[in-house]
Symmetry: C2
Subunit: 298 residues, 2 copies
């Protein structure tokens, strides 16, 4: 990274992620301009010290970060590029493949666009929960296309570094499969589990231990955002849920058939579950992340 470094960044979208990264950048001495498809969302971020409002006629920023939910990214990116707001562009959406395809179809300048996804440890949602430590030590996936110039990638990598995150580069499809496995499917399985409790008597719920509460507490709270995310990663997430559903159905069938002895299907899934648990707990990230929230947010 021999380039002179970021001096100005425009952040479009003043939600949890946008405000948090703007706070990081402001603290690092970068000039941060703030905008939002909902103009009323800018003032709270300005009030937090995250930057100043983007004014008409501002010179192009070194980098524009589109920090909107997935379904808004391409329109916002297209308009920002049409207005010449920046020299390079990135986004923070949890899904990458479909957004890239939409950006190509829409006619965005994808040579200046480095798709990104900060996988925050999570926590309370909403812009009021924004804080600059949100990205510390967490993965930040980058999915640069084949024709992106190195200086655009370097600008986004500097953003990642300034936020204290760790950049990982992978193709959009690999990203979407990975987050389906470690974020989206687990979240939906936890929600399906929580759904079973919706009509359970309070005195039965009161018997639950802390583990069930922890599992259920970490389910996504923003239904609209999650619907948006999931529909943008539908095939991979659907496949993940179908695999879990098939394993549960097989185990249920084994239990119904098994009588007094545990059937092969039940024992097999228990053992495979233990293998998966061991693999996860031994993976590199388990030494770095103690947070109780499973998913990144946009």
């Amino acid at each position: 990274m021999s380039r002179p470094g970021l001096r100005s960044v425009t952040v479009i979208g003043c939600g949890l992620i946008g405000t948090s990264l703007a706070l990081c950048l402001t603290r690092a001495g970068i000039a941060v301009l703030l905008a939002d498809p909902d103009p009323g969302a800018v003032a709270p971020a300005v009030g937090r010290g995250a930057g100043v409002p983007l004014a008409p006629g501002a010179p192009p920023a070194d980098l524009v970060v589109v920090a909107t939910p997935p379904s808004a990214v391409v329109d916002v990116l297209y308009e920002a590029q049409a207005r010449g707001l920046g020299r390079a562009y990135t986004d923070v959406a949890e899904v990458k493949g479909l957004i890239w395809e939409e950006a190509v179809l829409r006619g965005c300048d994808v040579r200046g666009y480095v798709p990104g996804h900060p996988m925050t440890a999570g926590g309370p949602s909403g812009p009021a929960a924004a804080e600059p430590g949100l990205f510390a030590g967490r993965p930040w996936i980058l999915c640069p296309g084949p024709s992106v110039p190195p200086e655009a990638v370097a600008a986004v990598e500097e953003l990642v570094t300034l936020c204290g995150a760790v950049a990982h580069t992978m193709p959009p499809g690999a990203h979407d499969e990975a987050v389906a496995t470690v974020c989206h499917t687990p979240m939906l399985v936890a929600l399906a589990l929580a759904a079973q409790l919706a009509d359970t008597a309070p005195d039965v719920l009161a018997l639950a231990g802390g583990g069930l509460r922890d599992t259920v507490r970490t389910t996504a709270s923003d239904t609209r955002l999650w619907s948006d995310v999931l529909t943008h990663n539908a095939p991979a997430v659907a496949a993940g849920m179908e695999r879990v559903a098939a394993d549960l159905a097989l185990m249920a069938s084994g239990l119904r058939d098994g009588g007094d002895i545990c059937s092969v299907s039940v024992g097999g899934l228990l053992l495979r579950g233990h293998r998966g648990r061991a693999a996860l707990l031994e993976s590199a990230g388990s030494r770095n992340t103690g947070d109780a929230r499973p998913r990144a947010r946009v």
Copy 2:
């Protein structure tokens, strides 16, 4: 509870639960005699100060606690009653209906037997992890039969109180449905989720957040014990898994069909999940139990 109080208790089964409750009783000044179907298991509990070994010819204890896995309870109970080891009997198995039926069929004296289930907050498994605080503030379900004399129930209630737990009385079938909902099904769903990770690349696993690790970390580690528990509560657990599997399959189908807009099935499950989460977090127990483990153990 106007009875004179427990003075002697025999604990058969020196695992996590048996040793922990023996430690509670010993600290309360009760004479505790220890036995185990595996004679080698007694010495470690004696070494922990949980009691002294049960010797042949000992006078009947006020209460005998059968603290074995579910499949051993009825044989151990039958033999203990045949030897006249106590004036009242209880157990600590996680399942109650089938054990009660087996006890009746086997010819146990079910008038002197008050089935019990301490729903510990969990934690590390195995007798080495035994500690007297295991039951503090936790529910302890009792399922006394219709012909049990009040003094037998009072003896078991005193055990519960001495362990710092809170007694709840319910029929065996209601117990088994309740634990299927709040313990067994959640555990198996978490295991099915973990099973999907068994063949996932380590660099993908390293992207997982702390929430997934917490969910997966709390899955049961003792495959043999869990097979035993599950097969004793098979219909209720199978039904719970089938419900989750059906919801997951419906959501997957909605995602596959839904295109850009979130289908009714996805949105509906998200909302039902949030209702279930709210119900659980508002239930009485959520204010008392902060532990990260969902299940009781025997």
